[in-house]
C-alpha cells in the first residue's frame, strides 16, 4: 500500500515535471520516436498493402513478411541495428529504436491494409470498372475508402504496440518514458520504474482513444451504418 503511495508521490513531485528528465520532455521524446516509427512503418506497409490487396498477387509474400516481422523480438533488432546506426549517425539514441519500432509497426499495417482491400465486395469493384474507372481510380476512389475502417484499425494496433515498446530506446541512451524504467532498474528505485510503466500505459491508452476518434471521423457515414452484405471471396480475418 505504501508502494502505491510512493508511486503517486513520485508522479506528484513537481521536480519530476521539470528539466531534462522531467515528464514533459520525456513525453515529447516518446511521442517523437513513436510517431516517426509509425510513419516510417506506414510509408513502407501501406503501398505494399494497397498493391497486393488490389492486384491479389503476392499474398504469400505479404503474410510471410508479416509473420517474420511479428516474430522478431524488438530488443534483438535494437541490438542488431546499433552498430550500423552508430556508424551512420554517430549518435546512440533514437536510431536503433527507430529501426526496431518501424519493423514492429509494419506487420499489423500491412496485414490489415491487404485484408481490408481484399475484403471489399467484388460487386463494388466490378461495378466501378463497369462505370469506366481505371484500376488506379478503383483503388483510390472505391477500395481504399471502403477498406478505411480496417486500414485505420491496423494503424491503431501498430500505434499502440509502438508506443508501448518505445521504452526499449532507453537501453541505448534513448529518451522517452523508458528512461524512467531503465534508470529505475539501475538505481533500484521501484517507484520510478512503476511510474514510468504507468506513464507508458497511459500514453498507450491515449493513443488508442485518439485513433478510435480518428476512425470515427474519417470513415464515411455510409460505411459505418452498413454491414457487409455478401461474403467476400478468400479474404482473411484482419487483425484488430
Amino acid at each position: 500500500m505504501e508502494f502505491v503511495a510512493s508511486v503517486i508521490a513520485w508522479l506528484a513531485d513537481p521536480a519530476h515535471w521539470q528539466g531534462r528528465d522531467g515528464i514533459p520532455i520525456r513525453l515529447l521524446e516518446h511521442v517523437e520516436l513513436s510517431a516517426a516509427s509509425l510513419l516510417a512503418g506506414a510509408a513502407i506497409a501501406l503501398p505494399f498493402g494497397f498493391l497486393v490487396g488490389h492486384s491479389g498477387r503476392g499474398a504469400f509474400l505479404v503474410l510471410s513478411v508479416a509473420n517474420v516481422g511479428r516474430a522478431l523480438p524488438s530488443l534483438a533488432i535494437l541490438g542488431l541495428a546499433l552498430p550500423f546506426t552508430i556508424q551512420l549517425f554517430h549518435v546512440l539514441e533514437f536510431w536503433p529504436a527507430f529501426v526496431a519500432l518501424t519493423v514492429l509497426a509494419i506487420p499489423p499495417i500491412l496485414t490489415n491494409t491487404w485484408a481490408g482491400i481484399r475484403a471489399v465486395e467484388r460487386d463494388l469493384v466490378e461495378t466501378s470498372r463497369g462505370m469506366g474507372m481505371s484500376a488506379t481510380q478503383v483503388l483510390w476512389r472505391v477500395e481504399i475508402p471502403v477498406a478505411l475502417p480496417v486500414i485505420l484499425g491496423g494503424l491503431r494496433t501498430a500505434a499502440v504496440q509502438v508506443v508501448a515498446t518505445a521504452t526499449l530506446g532507453a537501453y541505448v541512451a534513448g529518451g522517452g518514458f523508458g528512461r524512467y524504467v531503465i534508470d529505475g532498474i539501475a538505481r533500484n528505485q521501484l517507484d520510478r520504474i512503476f511510474a514510468g510503466a504507468l506513464l507508458v500505459a497511459a500514453l498507450s491508452i491515449a493513443t488508442e482513444l485518439a485513433f478510435a476518434f480518428l476512425q470515427r471521423r474519417l470513415v464515411s457515414r455510409g460505411l459505418r451504418a452498413a454491414a457487409p452484405r455478401s461474403a467476400p471471396r478468400s479474404a482473411p480475418r484482419p487483425a484488430t
Binding site: L82, P83, I86, Q87, H90, V91, L92, E93, A170, Y171, V172, A173, R179, I182, D183, I185, A186, R187, N188
Partner: protein, 334 residues
Amino acid sequence: MRLTRMLALGASLLVLASACTTGGGSTPSPSATATAPPSATAPATPTPAPATPTPEPPKPTVRIGSAGFYEAQLVAEIYAQVLEADGFTVERHLGLGTRPIIEEALAGGQVDMLPEYIGSTLEFFNGGKGEASGDSAATAARLQEYYTPKGVTVLLYTPGQDQNGFVVRPETADESGLAKMSDLAAVAGQLVLGAPPECETNPVCLPGLKSVYGIEFKDFKPLSACAADGIIALNEKAIDVYEVCTTQPGIAQFGLVLLADDKHLQPAENIAPVVRDDFLAKVPKPDDFKALLNSVSQRLTTDVLLELGVKVDVDKRDVADVATEWLKAEGVIP
C-alpha cells in the same frame, strides 16, 4: 464417465501439488540440501574395514550467484569449479543482475555465496557515504561490519582489482593533453560522458567527479556498464568519455587512454567471496572451505583478471572453459 473424469482431475491435482513442493527453481528446501550426495572421494568398498572412522558428513550444496557482467561470472565460475573439484555440489545462479538484485538474493538466502567488489559494495550499503577508500584492508574490514548483521562473512580478497575508470579516444587525449582525471576539468564542458544510469546519483561517479575534480560534462548518455556497446559508442564519437572497468579488454584492444585517478576518487575494488554464515555452519570443515577459496583468491591478480578477461570478452570464449583452463594451468584442479 463421471468417475473417470474425477479420477483424471484428482490425478492432475496430485501431479500439480507434487510439482509445486519438489518444484525446481533456485530455492530448494533446506531438507533437500541435507540429502546431497556424499563426497566423491569416499570409496564404496564392500569389504568392511576393521576400525572404520566415522564417515565424513555430506558436503552441502553450494548455491553460487553472480552479477551479470563477464568478470563477475568468471570469478564465480572459478570458485564453483574449485568447490566442485573438492567434492561440493554446486548450483550456479550466474548473471542474476545488478548489485541490488544479487545482494537481495544473498540476504534473502536464495544464494549462499557470491563474488563481490569490496569498494562498490561498501558504498552500496552505506548509501554513498564515501567510506570506501584506496586502502583495501580498511575497506574490506568496514564492509564486514555491514555484512555481519546480515549473517554474511567476507573471505579473503583478491590482490587484483577491477576499478571503475574513465577512458577517452587517443585523439582526444592528444588534442587536450589528457593523462589524468584532473586534466579533464578544463575540457569536460565540451565532452559527452557515457556511463551507466546510476552514475548520475553514484557518489563516486558524477557527483564525485564534480566535487573532487570539478568536472562537469556537456551531456550524459546512460549506457550499460563496462560493455562493448559503450566502446563502440566511444570509437564512433557518439560519446567522448566512457566509464569502464579497468580490466576491460576493450581498453587495450582499441588503444584507449585510461585517465589516471590522481585524486583517488575510485575506491579499492578487490574481489572477495562473501558467504552466508548459515551456509558455513552446514559445511563439515568450514576452515578448509575458507582456506580453499582463499588460496584461489590469492592467485587472482589484476594481470590474471585482465588476461582471462581478454579470453572471455574479446575472444568470446565460454566462461566455464576459460575458468577450467586457468585452474588446470595453475594446478588448482587436476
